[in-house]
C-alpha cells in the first residue's frame, strides 16, 4: 500500500507550550483517515504544519514524496484543504470562486469548465447562482470541498468539516467525503467520533499533543474487546441461571448473553461448559466496541 503522508517525529511549540509531541503518522493512499481528538488537542496545528502554514520545531513531513517546508511549499500542489470555517470572497458566486481557484492552480481553460461543473454537481451547488454572502454554513462547507478537490489532489485535508452542521448537513458532507475517496486520500479531523466511525478506514487519536492510537478501524474495534455476544435456542435468562455457578463473567443485554472471554483457553472452557450443559448456540459473535467508547476510555 502506498503511503501518501509520512509524518516523522513532528514537534511543535508555541512559546513554552508544546502542542505536538513527537508525532509519527503514516497515511495510506485512497483511504479515509479520521483524526480524532478533543477540541484544543492540536489537530488543527498538525494540519497547518502539513500545509506549510506553520514552521516545525522538530521532525519532518512528506506529502506524495515532497517534503513540506514552511511558507511556500511545493507539496501543496498535491493537497486540497478545507479549513474548519472556510472563508470565501462574498462578492463571488460558487462558479466565479472556483474559476479563481482554477487560475491559481494553473488549470487550463478547457479543463476548467468541465471540472467546475462536475464538482458543483458533486457538492449539490450546480443550480445555485447566488453570491456566497447568502450561503448557509453547510453550503460553504460543500463549496469548500469543491475547491479542495478542484486540482485532483492526492490528499484532501479537512479540518472539522462537520462540527457546526445540523444532522442533514453532516450526512451530506460525510457522503461527499466518502465519494471523494475514489480519487483521493481523505484526512479529516473531528471531535465527533461517530462521524469518523461512519466513513473512516483508519483512525488516529490525538490527545494532549500525542498520538494515543492509530490503526484500521476494524482492528481497533476488535482488539480492545474480549467480550462475545451469544444467543441460544432456549431463553437467555434460563441459560444465565444454569451458568450461574460457573466462573465466567456474564450479563444479559437485550435478550443476548454477553460473556467476557479474554483468551482462547477461557473461550474453549466456556464452549465446553455449554456442551456439558447441553445448551445449543444459535449465534455467537465478538462484541465490537464503538469507537466513542474507546475514545472515552482513553480520555479517562
Amino acid at each position: 500500500m502506498t503511503i501518501v503522508v509520512q509524518i516523522n517525529g513532528v514537534t511543535k511549540r508555541f512559546g513554552d507550550h508544546e502542542v505536538l509531541k513527537d508525532i509519527h503518522l503514516h497515511i495510506p493512499e485512497h483511504t479515509v483517515f479520521g483524526f480524532v481528538g478533543a477540541n484544543g488537542s492540536g489537530k488543527t496545528t498538525l494540519m497547518k504544519c502539513m500545509l506549510g502554514l506553520l514552521p516545525l520545531n522538530a521532525g519532518s513531513i512528506t506529502i506524495a514524496g515532497e517534503s513540506v517546508t514552511f511558507g511556500e511549499t511545493k507539496s501543496n500542489q498535491y493537497v486540497g484543504y478545507l479549513p474548519d470555517v472556510p472563508e470565501f470572497y462574498p462578492f463571488y458566486n460558487a462558479t466565479q470562486y472556483l474559476e479563481l481557484c482554477a487560475v491559481i492552480t494553473n488549470m487550463t481553460k478547457t479543463e476548467r469548465r468541465g471540472r467546475i461543473r462536475e464538482l458543483l454537481e458533486l457538492v449539490g451547488l450546480a443550480d445555485t447562482t447566488s453570491f456566497i454572502s447568502t450561503y448557509s454554513r453547510g453550503m460553504k462547507q460543500r463549496l469548500g470541498i469543491a475547491q479542495a478537490l478542484l486540482n485532483r489532489p492526492k490528499l484532501l485535508i479537512c479540518d472539522e468539516p462537520t462540527s457546526a452542521l445540523d444532522p442533514a448537513g453532516r450526512a451530506q458532507i460525510l457522503s461527499i467525503l466518502k465519494q471523494a475517496k475514489a480519487e483521493t486520500t481523505v484526512f479529516f479531523s473531528t471531535h465527533i467520533v461517530s462521524d469518523a466511525e461512519q466513513i473512516c478506514d483508519h483512525v488516529a487519536m490525538l490527545h494532549e499533543g500525542t498520538i494515543i492510537f492509530q490503526d484500521e478501524l476494524t482492528n481497533l474495534k476488535q482488539r480492545i474487546t474480549g467480550e462475545f455476544v451469544f444467543t441460544f435456542t432456549i431463553p437467555v435468562a434460563e441459560v444465565h441461571d444454569r451458568l450461574q455457578n460457573t466462573p465466567f463473567e456474564m450479563k444479559i443485554d437485550s435478550d443476548q448473553l454477553v460473556v467476557s472471554l479474554l483468551d482462547e483457553s477461557t473461550q474453549l472452557a466456556f464452549m465446553q461448559e455449554l456442551t456439558n450443559q447441553k445448551i445449543l448456540i444459535q449465534s455467537m459473535q465478538p462484541k465490537t466496541r464503538l469507537l466513542e467508547q474507546l475514545v472515552l476510555e482513553v480520555l479517562g
Binding site: L53, G71, Y81, P83, F91, L100, I104, T105, N106, N151
Partner: protein, 254 residues
C-alpha cells in the same frame, strides 16, 4: 503570470463591489472641481462676510490660486481619504482568513503583495489624473495658465509621495494585520518626516519636500533639478518598503 493576473482581477472585482471605484471617482472629481471653484469664489465670499463699510482690496484670483488650492486639498483631504480607503487591504483578508485557501492552492505570497500594491497604485493614478485633469480644464476656462511652471512635474511630486505612503500603509497593514496598523504606521512615518523637516538641511533629501515645494515649482522659484534627490529617495523607499512587506508576509504565520 496567469496567477498574478487572476489575483489582480479578483482585486479589481472586489474594489468595484466594495464601492472603492465609485468613491475614488466621486471624491477626486469633487476635489478637482473644488480647487478652481474655491479660488474663484473666495474673494466674493470674503467681501460678503466683511462688516458693512469695510473696504478690502483683494487681488483678482489667478490660475496660481487654483493650483494652490489643488496642492492644499488633494494632499490634505484626498490623500488621507485614499489612505483610509486602502488601509485594510491586507488586514481584512488576514483577519477573515480568505487568503488561506488560495495560498494552500499555490498562490505565491509575493503575488498577493504585488497585486494588491499594483491595484492601489492604479487607483492612485486614476485619482490624481482625474483631479488634475478636472482642475486643469476648469482653471483653463477661467484663467490663463501659461505663466505656471513645471505643472506636470509638480503633480508627479505629489503622485510619488502618495506612492510612498501607499507602500508604507501596505507594510503596516501586513505587519500588524489590524485595520488600524497600516494607518498608524503611515501616521508615524509622516510625523517622523515632519520632525526631520524642522532641520533645514533635511530639505535636500526629505520626501516631504515633494509636497511642500510645489508652490515654488509652479512659480519657477525651484526647478525639478532642485528636487531630484527627495524624488528618487521617495521612489526607492517605496520599492524598498514593498520588498520589505513581501519578506514579512513570506514569514507570516497564518
Amino acid at each position: 503570470m496567469n496567477q498574478w493576473f487572476g489575483f489582480l482581477k479578483k482585486e479589481w472585482f472586489e474594489s468595484v463591489k466594495t464601492y472603492k471605484l465609485l468613491l475614488v471617482i466621486v471624491i477626486f472629481s469633487i476635489l478637482g472641481i473644488l480647487n478652481p471653484f474655491t479660488a474663484k469664489i473666495t474673494p466674493t465670499l470674503l467681501e460678503q462676510f466683511m462688516p458693512e463699510g469695510t473696504f478690502v482690496n483683494l487681488p483678482e484670483p489667478t490660475a496660481l490660486d487654483s493650483w494652490l488650492q489643488f496642492y492644499k486639498n488633494v494632499p490634505q483631504m484626498g490623500l488621507i481619504v485614499f489612505i483610509l480607503l486602502f488601509s485594510t487591504m491586507m488586514s481584512k483578508e488576514l483577519e477573515k482568513g480568505t487568503l488561506v485557501i488560495l495560498l494552500t492552492k499555490g498562490l505565491h505570497r509575493s503575488t498577493v503583495i504585488t497585486a494588491k500594491f499594483f491595484m492601489a497604485l492604479c487607483y492612485w493614478t486614476l485619482a490624481i489624473t482625474l483631479s488634475f485633469t478636472i482642475t486643469y480644464a476648469y482653471t483653463a476656462y477661467y484663467w490663463d495658465q501659461s505663466q505656471l511652471q513645471h505643472l506636470l512635474f509638480a503633480v508627479s511630486c505629489l503622485y510619488v509621495f502618495g506612492i510612498l505612503l501607499l507602500a508604507v500603509t501596505l507594510w503596516g497593514n501586513t505587519l500588524f494585520a489590524t485595520p488600524y496598523g497600516g494607518t498608524l504606521v503611515t501616521l508615524l512615518v509622516v510625523i517622523a518626516l515632519f520632525i526631520a523637516a524642522i532641520f533645514p538641511k533635511s530639505a535636500n533629501w526629505n520626501p516631504l519636500e515633494l509636497l511642500t515645494a510645489t508652490t515654488q515649482l509652479l512659480t519657477g522659484e525651484l526647478t525639478p533639478s532642485d528636487l531630484w534627490i527627495p524624488y528618487i529617495i521617495a521612489l526607492f523607499a517605496a520599492i524598498f518598503v514593498v520588498l520589505l512587506t513581501m519578506t514579512h508576509f513570506k514569514r507570516k504565520l497564518l
